[in-house]
């Protein structure tokens, strides 16, 4: 399975004068798609998440240790464990309530069943959000016809969550699978934002469209769209300035960027990714709500997952806004961005 599922061309040139035989083609393609890589990423993702096991799964295990019976005490501790993972007070309480009811009705008898119930509840939330995406409310690259180019991705979020770094990794990964990628530096506000992005762009060898600091971000975007079309670019990734969701004028600025993109390319921006820092608490929900009002978010990217915080708030966001989590950042290297998998995430949380 490749990282990017919207290949422009599948022409495989081996540097030979003849066309490649089917066998040769298969080998090359497999290498390009890097099925081994994918498995490795999955493992690393799970490992990144499971470093919290010390606190979540570990705690849950210690709650359950030596207990067979389910009493109020167990549930109280469990509630604390869920809240401690930032899963959200409301969501946690609901899960605990449903467990409590099932225990009363004698549908849940021991600790293992309780654990299973919680896992499946959490997974249900995450997978439900992913399903609603497939119903057509939200796009992913494979759903946009190839004639529409460039495929436009807009990256938004509050300050300091790792937007620029995520773009660097995203550009690298999409490009390394043979797509033409361009990056648009529409963060014209923060000091040296352009420089930071330029370094990332250089590392992954993708062109960067930028202008003087203080330029209207929509103007930069307009230029980038024109340049992308002129150079027959497949994917345009748009960096935006970090902004707190409480700033009305900055949210309007985003709205304007969305309008400009939509006017230039049909359906653009095809993807709007909200970046959420794994340490974010309950405020993450409010961020998602407010950003969605300005530019409907199509997915989340959870960054800094290699720390001890596990970004449980994305579960609350997925639940309320039906937004899937698309990617996770698990380190500082170019390759440290992987696709999100509900299964790996929940397994990582619970062990």
């Amino acid at each position: 399975m490749a990282f990017w599922k919207r290949k422009q061309q599948e022409i495989i040139s081996l540097g030979l004068n003849r066309a490649a035989t089917p066998e040769e083609e298969r080998i090359v393609r497999e290498e390009a798609e890097g099925s081994d890589d994918q498995a490795r990423f999955y493992d690393r993702f799970k490992k990144a998440v499971s470093s919290t096991r010390e606190n979540l799964a570990g705690r849950i295990d210690s709650i359950f240790a030596g207990k067979r019976e389910l009493d109020a005490d167990v549930l109280d501790h469990l509630e604390e464990a869920l809240i401690g993972a930032d899963i959200g007070v409301q969501t946690s309480l609901e899960i605990i309530d449903s467990a409590r009811q099932q225990i009363e009705r004698k549908q849940l008898n021991d600790v293992d069943e309780l654990k299973k119930l919680i896992k499946s509840e959490l997974r249900g939330i995450l997978e439900g959000a992913a399903r609603s995406r497939k119903a057509g409310t939200v796009a992913s690259e494979s759903e946009v016809p190839l004639e529409i180019r460039p495929y436009v991705m807009m990256i938004v979020g509050v300050n300091g969550v790792g937007k620029t770094t995520t773009i660097g990794k995203l550009a690298h990964r999409i490009k390394s699978e043979g797509n033409q990628v361009m990056v648009c530096a529409a963060d014209t506000f923060r000091a040296a934002a352009n420089d930071q992005l330029a370094i990332w762009a250089e590392r992954s060898g993708v062109p960067l469209i930028q202008q003087k600091p203080g330029t209207d971000p929509s103007a930069v975007l307009f230029d980038a769209l024109a340049a992308a079309r002129a150079r027959n670019i497949d994917v345009l990734i748009v960096d935006t300035a970090g902004r707190l969701h409480t700033k009305a004028n900055l949210m309007q600025e985003l709205e304007k960027m969305r309008r400009v993109a939509g006017r230039e390319v049909a359906g653009a921006p095809h993807e709007v990714l909200l970046i959420i820092d794994a340490v974010t608490g309950q405020n993450g929900l409010e961020q998602a709500r407010q950003f969605t009002r300005a530019v409907p978010i199509t997915g989340l990217v959870l960054t800094k997952l290699d720390g001890t915080a596990k970004g449980g708030i994305v579960i609350a966001i997925a639940k309320e806004l039906n937004v899937p989590i698309r990617y996770v950042g698990i380190g500082e290297q170019m390759n440290d961005l992987v696709e999100f998998s509900p299964e790996a995430y929940i397994d990582g949380l619970f062990g």
Binding site: D86, N159, Q196, T246, A248, V279, T280, G281, N283, G284
Partner: protein, 474 residues
């Protein structure tokens, strides 16, 4: 949120009336609500637990004082406890005679270290007559050093850098020497942000500490941090030993429970809060205000201070007289508008109010922007009138209105609407003259912004008297 919490508490404590004393059963159910409120504000669950235990011990047996409802009393108890926990020693930075005094800035990635370094430098230079030099030893993040250099440029502060030197320790050493040579008395050391589980970074910070012997090590914490705030703060404190905390991104709507967590686990005072992206957006930390915010009570106190400092009592009295005699001219109206504007931007004012003040209705940022725009237009229209017109609006005929519209960049319809509103407001004001200044502002704003600004004037006043009473009791 505050309304929600106090409503819940009222419900829980309803049957308490007449008993005169808080019983354990009451406290238990009240504490449940408080616990959820604190957790929703991102206070760490362990901190919540110990807090709730302490509160319980204090609350049981407490006499219900006549004028406070049991619910109010419980909230007061919680509030006092929060202020107590959050409060600490001086929020000033401490300096010695050493040259230079090094202030080390540490924290996680993206918490706002570099921006805060710039803000601190500006503040120290302007308010404490320090002479700071800035240096970034973040050799890892792309363009981190350029960022500080650009910030230095825009605040007019010198930034030290040696291109080509990629060792944080060497950079720090040379920066200290530069201070001694040139005579900068303060060195602000912006360090690399990384995850706290990163051993290497912690060792690097320890080395920097040994090398530069900082007088302050400030931990930068993002107000939006969740439960993990405790862990990172603890880690930094254990490994490096922080002397204070700066809470950033407080201009957002995060409730800032992280403040409580960080203070509780490190014991170090929160010294400043960052409240915006501009380099002067840094303020001293007030425990009472954050306590209110965590409980969702809004920053009522700051607002009252603001209103009181901006409203000139004498002028208000004069105004009352004028209204009573139906002599409230457009000129006076403009004065009023300006007074409202002087208090700051609307969203700042609204931020300070409890969210429940408008009957649970949330004022959206758009509405706020709309109100502010309307105020601006109204003032522009009045500005374009002659003095005579301002004193007597009845002389405004079609051609005068056309001229005013042209002059203020509006349309005749806008002018008409504004005059109509003014006339109506005058009527209303006459009816309310007995109500005092609070209702005056109420009427004024009510006409202007769909009752929003009205609520502001009213609410501020009402809360003010309530608080004063409370203070006397103490």
């Amino acid at each position: 949120m505050f309304e929600a919490l106090s409503d819940k508490l009222k419900k829980v404590l309803k049957d308490l009336r007449g008993q005169g004393r808080l019983t354990e059963a009451h406290i238990d159910s009240a504490m449940r609500e408080i616990r959820i409120a604190l957790l929703e504000a991102d206070v760490n669950y362990k901190v919540v637990k110990s807090l709730v235990d302490r509160l319980k011990a204090k609350a049981v047996g407490e006499e219900v004082v006549g004028s406070l409802s049991p619910a109010q009393q419980v909230i007061k108890l919680v509030y006092d406890e929060l202020v107590d926990v959050l409060g600490g020693t001086s929020t000033q930075l401490l300096f010695t005679k050493r040259i230079p005094n090094v202030v080390m800035i540490v924290g996680l990635q993206g918490s706002g270290k570099t921006t805060t370094t710039g803000k601190l430098a500006k503040m120290l230079a302007e308010q404490q007559k320090r002479c700071p030099l800035l240096v970034s030893v973040d050799v890892y993040r792309p363009a981190a050093r350029q960022q500080l250099a650009l910030i230095g440029q825009s605040i007019g502060m010198p930034v030290f850098d040696v291109p080509g030197v990629d060792s944080p320790l060497e950079l720090a050493r040379q920066a200290v020497r530069e201070c001694q040579l040139v005579g900068y008395d303060t060195l602000l050391l912006d360090t690399a942000g990384r995850l706290h589980v990163d051993e290497e970074l912690m060792i690097e910070l320890q080395q920097l500490k040994q090398e530069t012997l900082p007088s302050e090590i400030l931990f930068i914490a993002d107000a939006m941090t969740g439960q993990d705030a405790v862990r990172s703060a603890q880690e930094f404190h254990e490994k490096v030993g922080i002397t204070g905390v700066i809470l950033t991104k407080m201009e957002g709507d995060a409730r800032g429970g992280a403040a409580l967590s960080v203070k509780e686990v490190t014991g170090q005072p929160i010294k400043f809060i960052g409240v915006g992206e501009r380099y002067d957006a840094i303020e001293p930390f007030y425990p009472d205000r954050i306590a209110q915010r965590i409980l969702g009570m809004g920053d009522v106190l700051s607002l009252i201070e603001k209103v009181q400092s901006e409203v000139d009592e004498e002028k208000a009295e004069e105004l009352r007289q004028k209204i009573a005699r139906d002599r409230f001219s457009l000129e006076d109206f403009r004065d009023q508008l300006r007074q409202v504007k002087r208090m700051g931007s609307f969203d700042k004012l609204m931020d300070m109010l409890p969210s429940g003040l408008f009957g649970g209705m949330r004022v959206t940022p758009e509405q706020m922007g709309e109100m502010e725009r309307k105020l601006k237009f109204t003032e522009a229209i009045i500005n374009s009138m002659t003095l005579k017109e301002r004193e007597d609006h009845s002389i405004l005929n079609a051609s005068r209105r056309k001229r005013i519209a042209n002059g203020s960049g509006t349309t005749v319809q806008d002018v008409n609407a504004m005059v109509r509103e003014y006339v109506e407001m005058r009527k209303m004001m006459r009816m309310m003259t007995a109500g005092g200044l609070g209702s005056l502002m109420g009427g004024l704003g009510g006409k202007l912004g769909a009752g929003l600004a009205g609520g502001m004037g009213f609410g501020g006043r009402r809360k003010a008297t309530k608080r004063r009473k409370k203070k006397k009791k103490k």
